[in-house]
Symmetry: C2
Protein backbone atom coordinates (compact mmCIF):
# COMPACT_ATOMS: atom_id res chain seq x y z
CA UNK A 1 0.00 0.00 0.00
CA UNK A 2 2.55 2.58 1.17
CA UNK A 3 6.01 2.70 -0.31
CA UNK A 4 8.88 4.02 1.77
CA UNK A 5 9.95 7.59 1.10
CA UNK A 6 13.64 8.35 1.80
CA UNK A 7 13.97 10.46 4.95
CA UNK A 8 15.93 13.18 3.16
CA UNK A 9 12.92 13.80 0.92
CA UNK A 10 10.30 13.69 3.71
CA UNK A 11 9.47 17.36 3.24
CA UNK A 12 8.03 16.61 -0.21
CA UNK A 13 5.12 15.00 1.64
CA UNK A 14 4.02 18.14 3.50
CA UNK A 15 5.93 21.12 2.05
CA UNK A 16 3.01 22.02 -0.21
CA UNK A 17 0.91 22.81 2.82
CA UNK A 18 -1.86 20.25 2.94
CA UNK A 19 -4.01 19.85 6.02
CA UNK A 20 -2.93 16.70 7.86
CA UNK A 21 -4.38 14.28 10.39
CA UNK A 22 -2.16 13.95 13.43
CA UNK A 23 -2.42 10.71 15.40
CA UNK A 24 -1.15 10.36 18.95
CA UNK A 25 -1.23 8.05 21.95
CA UNK A 26 -0.77 4.29 22.12
CA UNK A 27 -2.71 1.10 22.73
CA UNK A 28 -6.37 1.87 23.27
CA UNK A 29 -5.70 5.47 24.30
CA UNK A 30 -5.25 7.01 20.86
CA UNK A 31 -6.50 10.12 19.12
CA UNK A 32 -6.64 11.78 15.70
CA UNK A 33 -6.99 15.50 14.90
CA UNK A 34 -6.87 17.66 11.76
CA UNK A 35 -3.92 20.08 11.83
CA UNK A 36 -3.64 22.64 9.05
CA UNK A 37 -0.78 24.36 10.86
CA UNK A 38 2.24 22.26 9.99
CA UNK A 39 5.55 22.72 8.15
CA UNK A 40 8.91 21.10 7.47
CA UNK A 41 11.73 22.60 9.57
CA UNK A 42 14.91 20.95 8.30
CA UNK A 43 15.86 18.33 5.74
CA UNK A 44 19.07 17.16 7.38
CA UNK A 45 18.20 16.02 9.99
CA UNK A 46 14.54 15.56 8.96
CA UNK A 47 12.44 17.76 11.24
CA UNK A 48 8.90 19.07 11.04
CA UNK A 49 6.65 21.22 13.20
CA UNK A 50 2.96 21.16 14.11
CA UNK A 51 1.01 23.73 16.13
CA UNK A 52 -1.52 22.26 18.59
CA UNK A 53 -3.75 23.98 21.16
CA UNK A 54 -2.35 23.19 24.60
CA UNK A 55 -5.73 22.12 25.98
CA UNK A 56 -6.44 19.61 23.20
CA UNK A 57 -6.26 15.89 23.84
CA UNK A 58 -3.66 15.58 21.07
CA UNK A 59 -1.25 17.87 22.93
CA UNK A 60 -1.80 15.88 26.14
CA UNK A 61 -1.09 12.54 24.42
CA UNK A 62 1.97 13.83 22.56
CA UNK A 63 3.40 15.14 25.85
CA UNK A 64 2.73 11.78 27.49
CA UNK A 65 4.32 9.63 24.80
CA UNK A 66 6.79 11.98 23.07
CA UNK A 67 5.58 10.71 19.70
CA UNK A 68 3.07 11.46 16.96
CA UNK A 69 2.32 10.61 13.36
CA UNK A 70 1.48 13.10 10.60
CA UNK A 71 -0.93 11.44 8.16
CA UNK A 72 -1.74 13.01 4.79
CA UNK A 73 -5.43 12.73 3.81
CA UNK A 74 -6.89 13.28 0.37
CA UNK A 75 -10.22 14.51 -0.97
CA UNK A 76 -11.98 11.27 -0.07
CA UNK A 77 -11.30 11.85 3.62
CA UNK A 78 -12.74 15.36 3.86
CA UNK A 79 -15.83 14.22 5.77
CA UNK A 80 -13.69 12.22 8.20
CA UNK A 81 -11.46 15.24 8.66
CA UNK A 82 -14.41 17.48 9.52
CA UNK A 83 -15.73 14.92 12.02
CA UNK A 84 -12.31 14.72 13.68
CA UNK A 85 -12.27 18.50 14.00
CA UNK A 86 -15.66 18.71 15.68
CA UNK A 87 -15.49 16.24 18.54
CA UNK A 88 -12.94 15.69 21.30
CA UNK A 89 -11.04 12.42 21.53
CA UNK A 90 -11.46 12.63 25.28
CA UNK A 91 -15.17 11.99 24.86
CA UNK A 92 -15.46 9.84 21.75
CA UNK A 93 -13.53 7.28 19.73
CA UNK A 94 -12.84 9.51 16.75
CA UNK A 95 -11.36 6.74 14.61
CA UNK A 96 -14.64 4.85 14.83
CA UNK A 97 -16.80 7.93 14.37
CA UNK A 98 -14.80 9.13 11.35
CA UNK A 99 -14.40 5.64 9.87
CA UNK A 100 -10.61 5.74 10.00
CA UNK A 101 -8.58 2.59 10.65
CA UNK A 102 -5.56 2.83 12.99
CA UNK A 103 -2.69 0.60 11.86
CA UNK A 104 0.67 -0.12 13.48
CA UNK A 105 3.66 1.95 12.43
CA UNK A 106 7.32 0.96 12.30
CA UNK A 107 9.07 3.33 14.62
CA UNK A 108 6.51 4.82 16.99
CA UNK A 109 3.51 3.54 18.93
CA UNK A 110 1.09 6.18 17.68
CA UNK A 111 -0.95 4.64 14.84
CA UNK A 112 -0.89 5.39 11.14
CA UNK A 113 -4.21 5.81 9.33
CA UNK A 114 -4.84 3.13 6.75
CA UNK A 115 -7.08 5.33 4.57
CA UNK A 116 -4.53 8.19 4.28
CA UNK A 117 -2.18 8.58 1.31
CA UNK A 118 1.00 9.28 3.25
CA UNK A 119 2.47 9.21 6.76
CA UNK A 120 5.41 10.56 8.74
CA UNK A 121 6.30 8.92 12.06
CA UNK A 122 7.81 11.45 14.47
CA UNK A 123 9.55 11.62 17.83
CA UNK A 124 9.34 14.94 19.66
CA UNK A 125 12.65 16.80 19.92
CA UNK A 126 11.27 20.12 21.13
CA UNK A 127 8.02 21.68 22.34
CA UNK A 128 7.61 25.44 22.72
CA UNK A 129 4.38 27.01 23.98
CA UNK A 130 3.20 30.33 22.55
CA UNK A 131 0.17 31.69 24.43
CA UNK A 132 -1.62 28.37 24.71
CA UNK A 133 -0.45 26.79 21.48
CA UNK A 134 2.34 24.22 21.57
CA UNK A 135 4.71 23.99 18.61
CA UNK A 136 5.93 20.40 18.64
CA UNK A 137 9.08 19.83 16.59
CA UNK A 138 9.39 16.21 15.56
CA UNK A 139 12.27 14.19 14.19
CA UNK A 140 10.93 12.14 11.28
CA UNK A 141 11.89 8.48 11.80
CA UNK A 142 10.01 6.87 8.90
CA UNK A 143 7.69 8.04 6.16
CA UNK A 144 5.83 6.67 3.19
CA UNK A 145 3.28 7.42 0.50
CA UNK A 146 0.86 5.52 -1.68
CA UNK A 147 2.72 4.09 -4.64
CA UNK A 148 0.33 5.21 -7.34
CA UNK A 149 0.18 8.83 -6.09
CA UNK A 150 3.83 9.60 -5.43
CA UNK A 151 6.92 9.28 -7.63
CA UNK A 152 9.33 11.33 -5.52
CA UNK A 153 6.77 14.16 -5.46
CA UNK A 154 2.99 14.10 -5.08
CA UNK A 155 1.20 13.58 -8.38
CA UNK A 156 -1.30 16.18 -7.24
CA UNK A 157 -3.90 15.66 -9.96
CA UNK A 158 -4.32 12.16 -8.55
CA UNK A 159 -3.34 12.71 -4.92
CA UNK A 160 -5.78 15.63 -4.46
CA UNK A 161 -4.57 16.80 -1.06
CA UNK A 162 -6.78 19.15 0.93
CA UNK A 163 -5.85 22.73 1.79
CA UNK A 164 -7.70 24.58 4.50
CA UNK A 165 -8.80 28.11 3.62
CA UNK A 166 -10.47 28.76 6.97
CA UNK A 167 -13.81 27.79 8.54
CA UNK A 168 -15.29 24.97 6.41
CA UNK A 169 -13.72 26.20 3.15
CA UNK A 170 -11.13 24.10 1.35
CA UNK A 171 -9.35 23.81 -1.99
CA UNK A 172 -7.69 20.81 -3.61
CA UNK A 173 -4.41 20.93 -5.45
CA UNK A 174 -4.54 20.91 -9.25
CA UNK A 175 -2.25 19.30 -11.82
CA UNK A 176 1.45 19.09 -11.02
CA UNK A 177 3.79 21.07 -13.26
CA UNK A 178 7.45 21.99 -13.53
CA UNK A 179 8.70 25.58 -13.63
Amino acid sequence: MFKNVPLDGFYHLIGHGSCVLVTSGKGKKINVAPIAWNMPVNDEPPLLAIAVAETHYTAELIKETGEFVVNVPNEELLKSLMICGKVSGRKENKFKKAKLTPVTGKKVKAPLIKECIGYLECRVVDAVTYDGVVVFVGSVLACGARKELYDGYWITEKAKTVHHLGSSFFALTGKRFKV
Copy 2:
Protein backbone atom coordinates in the same frame (compact mmCIF):
# COMPACT_ATOMS: atom_id res chain seq x y z
CA MET B 1 -5.05 47.48 -4.22
CA PHE B 2 -4.85 45.57 -0.91
CA LYS B 3 -7.72 45.59 1.53
CA ASN B 4 -7.05 45.17 5.22
CA VAL B 5 -7.64 41.72 6.66
CA PRO B 6 -8.62 41.65 10.36
CA LEU B 7 -5.71 40.35 12.45
CA ASP B 8 -7.80 37.59 14.01
CA GLY B 9 -8.31 36.09 10.55
CA PHE B 10 -4.67 36.45 9.42
CA TYR B 11 -4.21 32.69 9.28
CA HIS B 12 -6.68 32.47 6.40
CA LEU B 13 -3.93 34.03 4.27
CA ILE B 14 -1.37 31.26 4.80
CA GLY B 15 -3.11 28.33 6.52
CA HIS B 16 -3.64 26.57 3.18
CA GLY B 17 0.11 26.17 2.80
CA SER B 18 1.12 28.31 -0.13
CA CYS B 19 4.76 29.08 -0.81
CA VAL B 20 5.45 32.68 0.24
CA LEU B 21 8.01 35.37 -0.49
CA VAL B 22 9.61 36.67 2.68
CA THR B 23 11.02 40.19 2.58
CA SER B 24 13.51 41.48 5.12
CA GLY B 25 15.87 44.36 5.83
CA LYS B 26 15.29 48.10 5.47
CA GLY B 27 16.28 51.05 3.33
CA LYS B 28 18.55 49.92 0.53
CA LYS B 29 19.63 46.78 2.32
CA ILE B 30 16.61 44.58 1.60
CA ASN B 31 16.08 41.03 0.44
CA VAL B 32 13.37 38.65 -0.77
CA ALA B 33 13.33 34.84 -0.58
CA PRO B 34 10.82 32.08 -1.35
CA ILE B 35 9.86 30.16 1.80
CA ALA B 36 7.64 27.10 1.42
CA TRP B 37 8.14 26.22 5.08
CA ASN B 38 5.70 28.47 6.90
CA MET B 39 2.63 28.06 9.12
CA PRO B 40 0.26 29.93 11.43
CA VAL B 41 1.03 29.34 15.12
CA ASN B 42 -1.77 31.08 17.01
CA ASP B 43 -4.81 33.17 16.19
CA GLU B 44 -5.02 35.09 19.45
CA PRO B 45 -2.48 36.65 19.54
CA PRO B 46 -1.77 36.38 15.78
CA LEU B 47 1.50 34.47 15.39
CA LEU B 48 3.12 32.68 12.49
CA ALA B 49 6.36 30.77 11.91
CA ILE B 50 8.83 30.53 9.04
CA ALA B 51 11.86 28.24 8.75
CA VAL B 52 14.98 29.86 7.26
CA ALA B 53 18.49 28.46 6.77
CA GLU B 54 20.77 30.17 9.29
CA THR B 55 23.39 31.06 6.68
CA HIS B 56 20.95 32.77 4.32
CA TYR B 57 20.91 36.53 3.92
CA THR B 58 17.23 36.57 4.97
CA ALA B 59 18.08 35.08 8.39
CA GLU B 60 20.86 37.65 8.81
CA LEU B 61 18.59 40.58 7.98
CA ILE B 62 15.73 39.34 10.16
CA LYS B 63 18.12 38.98 13.09
CA GLU B 64 19.42 42.52 12.48
CA THR B 65 16.03 44.20 12.26
CA GLY B 66 13.70 41.90 14.21
CA GLU B 67 11.13 42.21 11.42
CA PHE B 68 9.97 40.54 8.22
CA VAL B 69 7.03 40.47 5.84
CA VAL B 70 5.34 37.35 4.49
CA ASN B 71 4.07 38.09 0.97
CA VAL B 72 1.71 35.72 -0.84
CA PRO B 73 2.51 35.28 -4.55
CA ASN B 74 0.22 33.79 -7.18
CA GLU B 75 0.75 31.85 -10.39
CA GLU B 76 1.93 34.95 -12.28
CA LEU B 77 4.93 35.30 -9.97
CA LEU B 78 6.27 31.75 -10.38
CA LYS B 79 9.21 32.88 -12.52
CA SER B 80 10.09 35.62 -10.05
CA LEU B 81 9.88 33.12 -7.22
CA MET B 82 12.30 30.74 -8.97
CA ILE B 83 14.75 33.57 -9.62
CA CYS B 84 14.60 34.60 -5.95
CA GLY B 85 15.39 31.03 -4.94
CA LYS B 86 18.43 30.73 -7.16
CA VAL B 87 20.54 33.79 -6.34
CA SER B 88 21.72 35.25 -3.05
CA GLY B 89 20.60 38.72 -2.02
CA ARG B 90 24.12 39.30 -0.73
CA LYS B 91 25.34 39.32 -4.31
CA GLU B 92 22.46 40.67 -6.37
CA ASN B 93 19.46 42.94 -6.10
CA LYS B 94 16.84 40.23 -6.28
CA PHE B 95 13.90 42.64 -6.49
CA LYS B 96 15.34 44.06 -9.69
CA LYS B 97 16.34 40.70 -11.10
CA ALA B 98 12.94 39.14 -10.37
CA LYS B 99 10.99 42.25 -11.40
CA LEU B 100 9.38 42.70 -8.00
CA THR B 101 8.57 46.15 -6.64
CA PRO B 102 9.27 46.84 -2.95
CA VAL B 103 6.67 49.13 -1.39
CA THR B 104 6.45 50.64 2.07
CA GLY B 105 4.43 48.80 4.73
CA LYS B 106 2.50 50.25 7.65
CA LYS B 107 4.06 48.69 10.71
CA VAL B 108 7.53 47.44 9.78
CA LYS B 109 10.43 48.70 7.71
CA ALA B 110 10.79 45.54 5.63
CA PRO B 111 9.04 46.14 2.30
CA LEU B 112 5.86 44.61 0.94
CA ILE B 113 5.85 43.35 -2.65
CA LYS B 114 3.51 45.28 -4.90
CA GLU B 115 2.92 42.35 -7.29
CA CYS B 116 1.89 39.89 -4.57
CA ILE B 117 -1.75 39.18 -3.69
CA GLY B 118 -1.41 39.34 0.09
CA TYR B 119 0.98 40.40 2.86
CA LEU B 120 1.56 39.93 6.59
CA GLU B 121 3.84 42.36 8.42
CA CYS B 122 5.60 40.65 11.32
CA ARG B 123 7.77 41.47 14.33
CA VAL B 124 9.95 38.63 15.63
CA VAL B 125 8.91 37.34 19.06
CA ASP B 126 11.05 34.22 19.10
CA ALA B 127 13.81 32.53 17.11
CA VAL B 128 14.85 28.93 17.73
CA THR B 129 17.64 27.26 15.77
CA TYR B 130 17.40 23.57 14.86
CA ASP B 131 20.62 22.25 13.30
CA GLY B 132 21.24 25.28 11.12
CA VAL B 133 17.64 26.26 10.42
CA VAL B 134 16.07 29.15 12.34
CA VAL B 135 12.37 29.03 13.11
CA PHE B 136 11.34 32.67 13.42
CA VAL B 137 8.02 33.19 15.17
CA GLY B 138 6.49 36.51 14.20
CA SER B 139 3.70 38.54 15.71
CA VAL B 140 1.46 39.71 12.84
CA LEU B 141 0.99 43.49 13.11
CA ALA B 142 -0.92 44.15 9.88
CA CYS B 143 -2.10 42.11 6.93
CA GLY B 144 -4.03 42.52 3.73
CA ALA B 145 -5.13 40.84 0.52
CA ARG B 146 -6.17 41.88 -2.96
CA LYS B 147 -9.83 42.86 -2.90
CA GLU B 148 -10.94 40.86 -5.90
CA LEU B 149 -9.29 37.64 -4.71
CA TYR B 150 -10.28 37.53 -1.05
CA ASP B 151 -13.67 37.76 0.65
CA GLY B 152 -12.64 36.60 4.11
CA TYR B 153 -11.04 33.51 2.52
CA TRP B 154 -8.98 33.13 -0.64
CA ILE B 155 -11.12 32.67 -3.73
CA THR B 156 -8.63 30.08 -4.87
CA GLU B 157 -9.86 29.61 -8.41
CA LYS B 158 -8.91 33.26 -8.96
CA ALA B 159 -6.11 33.66 -6.44
CA LYS B 160 -4.20 30.60 -7.73
CA THR B 161 -1.62 30.39 -4.98
CA VAL B 162 1.47 28.26 -5.57
CA HIS B 163 2.28 25.12 -3.58
CA HIS B 164 5.78 23.68 -3.66
CA LEU B 165 5.97 19.93 -4.22
CA GLY B 166 9.78 19.80 -4.11
CA SER B 167 12.55 20.64 -6.58
CA SER B 168 10.98 22.69 -9.40
CA PHE B 169 7.56 21.00 -9.15
CA PHE B 170 4.50 22.98 -8.11
CA ALA B 171 0.72 22.77 -8.04
CA LEU B 172 -1.87 25.52 -7.92
CA THR B 173 -4.99 25.45 -5.79
CA GLY B 174 -8.26 24.63 -7.54
CA LYS B 175 -11.78 25.91 -6.96
CA ARG B 176 -12.80 26.80 -3.42
CA PHE B 177 -15.58 24.70 -1.91
CA LYS B 178 -17.37 24.24 1.39
CA VAL B 179 -17.53 20.93 3.24
